[in-house]
Symmetry: C2
Amino acid sequence: MTYYSLVTNTDTQLDLHHIDDDACLKFQGAVELVGKRWSSGILLAIARGSERFSDIVSVVIGLSDRLLSQRLRELEIAGLIERVVVPTVPVQVRYRLTPKGADLMESLQPLASWRNRWAE
Amino acid sequence: MTYYSLVTNTDTQLDLHHIDDDACLKFQGAVELVGKRWSSGILLAIARGSERFSDIVSVVIGLSDRLLSQRLRELEIAGLIERVVVPTVPVQVRYRLTPKGADLMESLQPLASWRNRWAE
DNA sequence: CTGGATCCCTATCGATACTG
DNA sequence: CAGTATCGATAGGGATCCAG
């Protein structure tokens, strides 16, 4: 039986040939979590320094406030971002990446490179 | 076109400020492409050696043949997999990763590691 | 400024049945 | 085996209006 070799160089990489079914589901879940519409754009915006609600809306092209609100809740539940309320008048709300979220963004860097590599 | 890095060598701090809007959209597009429902599971199944239609259905839990058919077309159009028809009786069809697709799977390994690192 | 609530529309999905 | 066709249900999305 022959199959594609996905493991090429370093030993730190995962060997996808021996992933069990549970890991398969986890992998799928992880990709679909961040792959949901607008999620990655929102995360990227926050990672780039857009901490405010209105900032994110203006940075992520096409994103509506309703969807942003919804996604922010999902991302917070997923533990990727944290919501910080500053009790001023009016109230200020800031969003930042959690360590888990920041680690995720780092892990997505190879994907960004891939997109760049295969851009036509 | 400026090549960029999501992570600087400075510290744990992310430096994404020099990413232009075009790259932002590309990044979002790349994540959402592979993050579509079932797509990653199908790619992983093929990467693990499931070349046949029925194999993929049985390996990816919950996936219906209709959706598999649809996703396979999308992934083929995206240039991630190739469809090989062997003219026997009955016809055999095999799917495998293209170099672009294999490269993608390698680029997703850090994400799999991330999922593993932050599993509770 | 930061959303919540509502309406409505479309895309997408799962199930079922069918074909070469 | 490797799909296609059809259909009803539903989830997701855009637009709009409203509130603390």
